[in-house]
Symmetry: C2
Subunit: 154 residues, 2 copies
């Protein structure tokens, strides 16, 4: 079995999609992340829900967890406003490891997909055929492939 056998349609956004729009997509569709395509439409990376959170959380709270207590319930709820006016480009981690992106070719084996997920700590990887996006494989889909019922499949 290869990545192309496990691929499923997955929502994509561009580098210029509004942060608020991405947050709504992730919420409405219960997504762990979205595929980000570059200016040419080629998949560039996967933006995780956790990265949206990191963008919203004030940096000094990330550095010093005890400071979380200075935010009241209302202050915490108001943090959403930090997404206003920003785009996907702004939310991507500042120094993405460009040596390895969460993208695999359609011929990748299940082990190759698993290894990329584990190494990059990503529960979603994009699957491409050349420059064309085929969709994504999620960790639960991959694990499902490894359950006994699936083992007899061609």
């Amino acid at each position: 079995m290869h990545a192309r056998d496990l691929v499923e349609p997955f929502p994509t956004v561009s580098l210029d999609t509004l942060a608020t729009e991405v947050a709504k997509m992730m919420s409405d569709e219960r997504l762990p992340g979205v595929i980000v395509c570059d200016e040419t439409g080629s998949p560039f990376t996967v933006l995780l829900g956790l990265e949206v959170l990191r963008f919203v959380i004030p940096p000094y709270v990330q550095d010093n967890p005890a400071l979380v207590r200075v935010y009241s319930e209302k202050d915490s709820d108001a943090l959403y406003g930090r997404l206003d006016g920003f785009t996907v480009r702004d939310m991507l981690p500042p120094k993405p490891d460009l040596d390895e992106l969460p993208v695999v070719g359609q011929d990748a084996t299940t082990l190759e997909v698993a290894a990329v997920m584990a190494r990059l700590h990503r529960s979603v990887v994009a699957v491409i055929d050349g420059n064309r996006l085929l969709g994504a494989v999620t960790v639960s889909r991959l694990i499902g492939h490894w359950t006994p019922e699936e083992q007899g499949r061609p």
Copy 2:
């Protein structure tokens, strides 16, 4: 808004649940993880799908990604067998950071929940009332709370 307002029912397993059973749950229910309860039934941690993958991937492949190529399609697909005979206890990371677990009290603010997710790199945190498990908050549910439609809610 507090963790108790965002909590949803979430599947739990024990430390002795079979690895194959957990894999099937994650696959069937498309779960990013499951809540692990200890011998007393109290939530202990969250086991992620990524941790199941790490358990399945041969260690020398994790250390040296190039070695993934020595596994054929069939060899890769057969790796599921590595789960046989193991339990949740075996799949948990060898040195969990016991100083901080992916568990929050029901009174945690949205920022506290977000900070725990971001710091522990977990898309799911368990929510407790004392020792009683209420369920979990997922990253997409938390982000959804931060979308404009929700901001007007009491």
